[in-house]
Symmetry: C2
Subunit: 144 residues, 2 copies
């Protein structure tokens, strides 16, 4: 049977929807991140950055900061701890665990930050510096 090259689909309404464009942009950024910063997802790096900026933060406060249930954090932190990137230390309020980067965690985060710098440049390659700033500002108005 003769095969015509499959024309791309009619996208219909989708390109007019902010949510759709956000999803496509996020998927593109995620793919580039995965290729640029091997071994950790954007979400995990985000947590490491928060622990770096807030040493000793409790699990629950970190969970709140990333909009996840505190039970969800347990497994995530177990993994980061098993990889030697963070440690839990019993807090003054002995119900809590304070979270700290280990030496290895600080080293990996330093490497990740350098990779993220290059990643950000690729992601914004088609934007001027002013456009990039404008995009961040418009996104902040979407997310409140």
């Amino acid at each position: 049977m003769i095969r015509r090259p499959a024309a791309s689909l009619n996208p219909g309404l989708l390109p007019e929807l902010i949510g759709y464009r956000l999803r496509l942009a996020q998927q593109a950024v995620f793919r580039d991140f995965a290729a640029s910063v091997p071994g950790v997802s954007p979400g995990r790096v985000g947590m490491l950055l928060l622990i770096e900026a807030n040493p000793g933060v409790t699990q629950s406060r970190l969970a709140q900061a990333v909009s996840r249930d505190r039970s969800t954090m347990v497994g995530v932190l177990d993994q980061l701890e098993a990889r030697g990137l963070i440690e839990r230390r019993r807090g003054a309020d002995r119900r809590t665990n304070g979270l700290w980067l280990t030496r290895a965690g600080r080293a990996m985060l330093a490497r990740a930050k350098r990779a993220i710098t290059a990643h950000e440049q690729r992601v914004a390659a088609r934007l001027t510096a002013a456009e990039r700033t404008r995009l961040l500002e418009l996104l902040a108005r979407i997310a409140v």
Copy 2:
């Protein structure tokens, strides 16, 4: 023990990263969508819109259009079919299934489109029309 109100965390580097802002914006949009368009996720509505704009599209072409594996589509389409929103019809190439909205599917999609109109207005409530257009354009340059 005396409890100080937990100050919000120091966000560190995160607010400067396009991927982080995209994620927050997308989560906010997703939440509003879920509250506005009950019963279907953004992804599912996207598929219904593509089937509407491309009646008879095959499963594999739809999978390609939404960047998913064709095996992933099977279960998704099973669900939409079980809900009576779409039907599969054997294609002229008898290996393929053409996808079509049912009458119920068209009706639900019409309702969803009205809900999406209101949803889009809420999402862009802090943006002028020109800013909204600008945002869509900048996002398109991120996602290629």
